[in-house]
């Protein structure tokens, strides 16, 4: 199988638009580069919720408690509030095993809550991000969403 990897990256860290590097200069790559934007908002977690939101009409309004999910460091329980068929609030409670874990998890959970709430379709096919460690959050969130569908 042909194993060609053609990547053109536009890296904009901290909102600084970096130059587009395209030494390959093929026509189709040049064309795609011009379409690349850095304005899309998404996250790996958000894309999940966006995927789930295609079934948003099935959600019944109310507040649903997810199951209590444990990982190596803490127990997480997520609840979601559905209003007008959409997720309008996410609450995560956690029981960390030590203070360090508590403060780290607190920050991480805040990010995840934000990502869930801002879930939206983006102009990207996907987002690469580190989500594996948030599996407990996602598992609990999913069980809450499943209840909202029932």
């Amino acid at each position: 199988m042909k194993k060609s990897l053609l990547i053109i990256a536009t890296i904009a860290l901290l909102g600084t638009l970096a130059a587009v590097v395209n030494p390959l200069g093929t026509k189709e790559n040049a064309a795609s580069t011009s379409k690349v934007t850095t304005s899309a908002s998404s996250s790996a977690v958000a894309s999940t919720a966006a995927a789930s939101s295609s079934a948003a009409a099935q959600y019944k309004d109310g507040t649903y408690q997810g199951s209590d999910v444990s990982n190596r460091y803490e127990d997480i329980q997520v609840s979601v509030t559905i209003s007008g068929g959409k997720i309008t609030a996410v609450h995560a409670s956690l029981n960390a095993q030590d203070d360090t874990s508590q403060s780290i998890a607190g920050d991480a959970i805040a990010s995840l809550k934000q990502a869930t709430l801002t879930a939206q379709s983006a102009s990207l096919d996907g987002v690469s991000g580190a989500t594996e460690a948030s599996a407990s959050y996602i598992q609990s969130l999913q069980s809450a969403i499943d209840k909202a569908k029932a």
Binding site: I11, A108, G126
Partner: protein
Amino acid sequence: MRQAFWCMGMPMSIDTPQAPNDTALCAAMAELRAADERFSPFKETSELVRFQTGQLPQGELSPDMRAVMQACQDWQRRTDGYFSAHFAGMFDPTGYVKGWAIARAGARLEALGCHTYMINAGGDILARSQGKHIWRVGLQHPTDPQAVAGTLTLRNGAVATSGTYARGRHIVNPRSGEAATCFLSATVVGPDIATADALATTLCAMGEAGPAFVQKQAGYQALAVRPDLSAVQTPGFGAVSI
């Protein structure tokens, strides 16, 4: 077309430009679910947990489990111990299995005639394009969950991101036992997803020496972001051609 599903406790999706070949799609999803059943550290009935708890002797391990175990040992050697599949004294290949399973799912799609697709498993991505289709991949911003820090377009390749941002001390330097704090996140691109995934984790654990290590692997490039949001990238990250 996107098929989204949950597996290994995380969101996964398979995208195809046209309506998908159902047989191929189902086979790919089955591959990922089978990996979850076998390697889940959370399911009491998984082969991994039965092995960890001594219910299953080493001699009775499945060929898949043995292959993953061997691959993890190879990675441990190759990275001088910065990649390790041991957690709290137990064999736990969670950090390797996702990439391995994505590669297998991709192989199933191709064997069944689907040659243009993108698999995204919890932020690790394998893209293939037989024609002109180009896949656009965002890189999650390490501190702003609403933003992407950059975008990549690729036809054939893999993108894996490891980070300490998703939940605090996610990556531990196996050599010191301490949390890896040098980088908030590391993204590795290259031809193979299992390799990219293992390299991203290794880079985070290695710290400052990580990007140079990735650069030594033929075909792989990296971008790593420090806690002050300054970034380090290997010279070829902007454009990789294999």
